[in-house]
């Protein structure tokens, strides 16, 4: 009997673990180690953040789902990896520290035959002074929608602003809280949902709503933007993004590295090197992501973290990390199997794998400050990669070490994305987008990097209906309800 240990129970880890258990059956063991007791459909957190959904609407308990699936669930955080075993055994293992199940604080060693790192990101609030509290958590100057609890808090603060806006002007700032952030999409959705709710509440005229982000142009979204066929043109996402911001009366600051946050004030550096500040009454600034801080130790206890993890804390996989300058980047730099190059029984998926480089063109200010979006690895690609990794590991277990590994390069897969611009059965809107491939391939598609037949986008009520249906569909799938495997990632 082989044992697969999956670290992380988010979109990618949950997908990997549940498919692996389905394919392996009871002949082999699947263990999930995740510090959370609840599964969270993160794309709907923005609706919690404006009071249109509750925490209960976007989460469910993991324990009964894993019990039903026959998955060994440990509510714990992974602390370290020992790929060569320890002093008493050559068997590789990880150490975990419980966060629940009545064993809070206890540590344990969990041996594995195969390991999947799907630990997701550390929300690195402290990378920006004043954005965090100094202990790695969200500080008191801004709010966040990165977790369901954060979103509940964000809505509480937002409602106070809406109340004040009945009688006086209020300033709202939404965007990215550091020059190296990803997840502009979540901030994009949140700012337009705030604007939509403000109209419904009759306070829009008293709100100055401002966008700030590290993108070099609106509509970059960390994927270098995209082009869509429209009116006989291949039109840039910049046109559509700027149009939407203009239509909704939201001015934008772009190319910004927020370098300090105080109560009611954000300081930022622009790509031209200038230093600026902006005041706010309410701010939601996405933090940069980093690896969760896993360590790796050799058999003798020596630290070998730098062999397995990139400096940003994400796990090295079969990517080309020596591509160099932007001009040298190729689609083939991107990983295909997500297998660690040193330890073939170790894989990483979702946000946890180290990308070879950015997708957007690197930018920096004259002061040397890097200001560019980092690559998104969430949503549909995250689920597909998780399933692909599970497929490879199942084949390795069943067919032996020479089994063919399955592949899912982000430079060869597309993504469907629905970004809400306001919730409502008849007055909601969302931008429905597909992009193919996620990572532009300028050799295969010279000029624009993508296939215009499969890259499109439009905004409207239909997009909102799709986002709402996806909310229910993916929670249904994640609960492993009947027919769950028929719903694509």
């Amino acid at each position: 009997m082989a044992r697969l240990v999956v670290m992380g129970g988010g979109v990618s880890g949950h997908t990997a673990a549940t498919f692996a258990k389905k394919w392996l059956g009871n002949d082999h063991e699947v263990v999930v180690v995740t510090p959370n007791s609840l599964w969270n459909w993160i794309p709907s957190n923005i609706w919690v953040g404006v009071g249109e959904m509750t925490k209960e609407d976007v989460t469910f308990p993991l324990a009964p789902v894993y019990a039903k699936a026959g998955i060994d669930y440990r509510q714990a955080k992974a602390v370290s990896i020992h790929p060569n075993g320890g002093t008493n055994s050559d068997k590789p293992y990880i150490t975990i520290q419980y966060t629940g199940q009545g064993k809070e604080g206890q540590t344990e060693e969990v041996a594995y035959d195969y390991l999947v790192n799907a630990t997701g990101p550390k929300l690195n609030f402290d990378a920006t002074p004043g954005l965090g509290d100094g202990n790695g958590q969200l500080g008191s100057n801004t709010v966040s929608v990165c977790t369901a609890d954060h979103a509940v808090h964000a809505n509480e603060e937002l409602q106070k602003i809406f109340d004040k806006a009945k009688t006086q002007k209020q300033k709202i700032l939404v965007g990215t809280g550091h020059g190296m952030c990803t997840c502009q999409g979540a901030a994009f959705e949140y700012i337009f949902n705030i604007e939509h709710e403000a109209r419904k509440a009759g306070v829009r005229d008293n709100l100055d709503i401002q966008w700030i982000s590290n993108e070099s142009f609106l509509g970059d979204f960390g994927i270098g933007g995209l082009h869509m066929k429209r009116g006989g043109y291949a039109a840039s996402s910049r046109l559509f993004a700027e149009s939407l911001y203009s239509e909704r009366g939201i001015p934008w600051i772009i190319g910004a590295h927020v370098n300090k946050v105080e109560a009611g004030k954000a300081h930022y550096e622009l790509l031209d090197g200038s230093m600026n500040e902006i005041e706010f009454d309410f701010a939601m600034l996405i933090p940069p992501f980093a690896g969760v801080g896993l360590k790796a130790y050799d058999k003798d206890g020596s630290d070998m973290t730098d062999q397995i993890f990139a400096p940003n804390g994400f796990m090295k996989v079969d990517a080309n990390y020596a591509a160099g300058a932007y001009e040298n980047w190729k689609a083939s730099d991107w990983p295909r199997t997500y297998q660690n190059p040193i330890y073939k029984n170790m894989f990483a998926c979702g946000i946890a794998f180290a990308p070879p480089h950015l997708i957007s063109k690197p930018m920096s200010s004259p002061n040397g400050t890097p200001i560019n979006p980092t690559p998104p690895r969430t949503g549909m690609p995250s689920g597909i990669i998780g399933k692909t990794v599970a497929h490879s590991i199942c084949d390795l277990i069943k067919e032996g070490p020479n089994a063919h590994l399955h592949e899912a390069s982000m430079a060869e897969m597309g993504a469907a994305c629905v970004a809400s611009a306001g919730k409502g059965l008849l007055d909601g809107t969302a931008a429905a987008l597909t992009v193919y491939p996620v990572v532009p391939d300028f050799e295969k598609y010279p000029g624009l990097g993508r296939d215009l037949d499969y890259t499109f986008g439009e905004i409207g009520l239909a997009g909102h209906w799709i986002k709402h249906i996806l909310h229910h569909m993916f929670i249904y799938k994640a609960k492993l309800n009947p027919g769950w495997t028929l719903i694509p990632e």
């Binding site: 149009s243 597309g414 809107t429 439009e458 409207g460 009520l461 239909a462 799709i466």
Partner: protein, 54 residues
């Protein structure tokens, strides 16, 4: 077009962007049209999803 009058100022950043006309905005929430778009978008997305699942 009230939004244009309200938000767009000459030579501001948003002066050089596309601004949707009233007709375009109406069609975004026109239920009949959006039902058609719902079907079309789903078909397009399913094609991309199918292509991406190897």
């Amino acid at each position: 077009m009230k939004e244009i009058e309200k938000y767009v100022k000459p030579y501001d950043a948003n002066f050089t962007t596309m601004i949707p006309t009233g007709f375009v905005k109406y069609m975004r929430t026109c239920v009949i049209w959006q039902i058609i778009r719902f079907i079309m978008i789903n078909i397009k997305m399913l094609i991309v999803v199918r292509k991406s699942h190897g």
